[in-house]
């Protein structure tokens, strides 16, 4: 069983489109995250949610909107996609009382 699963794994879309990436964790963790890994492999946090409440919101354009319907899910919706949004997006989860963050396998988004 996959602990943190993201769908889709690959997404190719045109500029201006709206797309969503879904994330689900079956670990019973109470905190979930979205990270962006750019072409230079640099990983940077975008958002974190704890018990469906937004905790961290880094300087990310308003076009990015996370949605957490429940503790086990954190989706990322992106409006009006731009070329610079092309990256690998990672979902992760953790139990706050523990140190380890478990990552999904990433979604490679390519905007053309």
């Amino acid at each position: 069983d996959t602990a943190v699963s993201q769908t889709p794994k690959y997404l190719v879309t045109q500029m201006g489109n709206d797309k969503s990436i879904k994330c689900e964790q079956n670990l019973g963790h109470d905190t979930m995250y979205w990270y962006k890994q750019d072409s230079k492999k640099f990983l940077k946090i975008m958002f974190s949610y704890n018990n469906k409440e937004l905790i961290i919101n880094e300087t990310v354009p308003n076009r990015f909107s996370p949605k957490s319907p429940d503790k086990a899910h954190l989706n990322l919706h992106i409006n009006s996609l731009e070329l610079g949004d092309s990256a690998v997006y990672f979902c992760a989860s953790s139990q706050v009382s523990r140190q380890v963050r478990t990552f999904g396998s990433g979604t490679r988004l390519t905007v053309v």
Binding site: I55, V88, S97, Q99, F103, S105
Partner: protein
């Protein structure tokens, strides 16, 4: 703000040899966590080893060990008996201690070191 620096963009090592990957960080905190993550071509981020700053003893996980120098803010990873499956990007990461039970702790990554294993 905390920063994590990995000064070696690429490293290579002969199979069965030992290699050390460097990491330095900057923080004003006295307590925190440090991690090494591995990202193979499959893209999955895999935890390799972790270290709590308040522990003086260096963490060890099988062939992986760290040299944690708190005063120098250095956290290097040593891989012994390198295997072909060790080939990957390695990321050093720093994590703050949350001041509440909320998820406001931040995990800051370095820019990564690409490790190549030479057969």
């Amino acid at each position: 703000a905390q920063t994590v620096t990995q000064s070696q963009p690429e490293m290579s090592v002969q199979e069965a040899e030992t290699v050390t990957l460097s990491c330095t960080y900057d923080t004003s905190e006295s307590d925190y966590y440090l991690f090494w993550y591995k990202q193979p071509p499959s893209r999955q981020m895999i935890l390799v080893i972790r270290q709590e700053a308040y522990k003086q003893q260096n963490a060890t996980e099988n062939r992986f060990s760290v040299n944690f120098q708190k005063a120098a803010k250095s956290f290097s990873l040593k891989i012994s008996d390198s295997q072909l499956g060790d080939a990957a990007m390695y990321f050093c990461a720093y994590r703050t201690i949350p001041d509440t039970n909320f998820g406001n702790e931040k995990l800051t990554f370095g820019t990564g070191t690409r490790l190549t294993i030479i057969p």
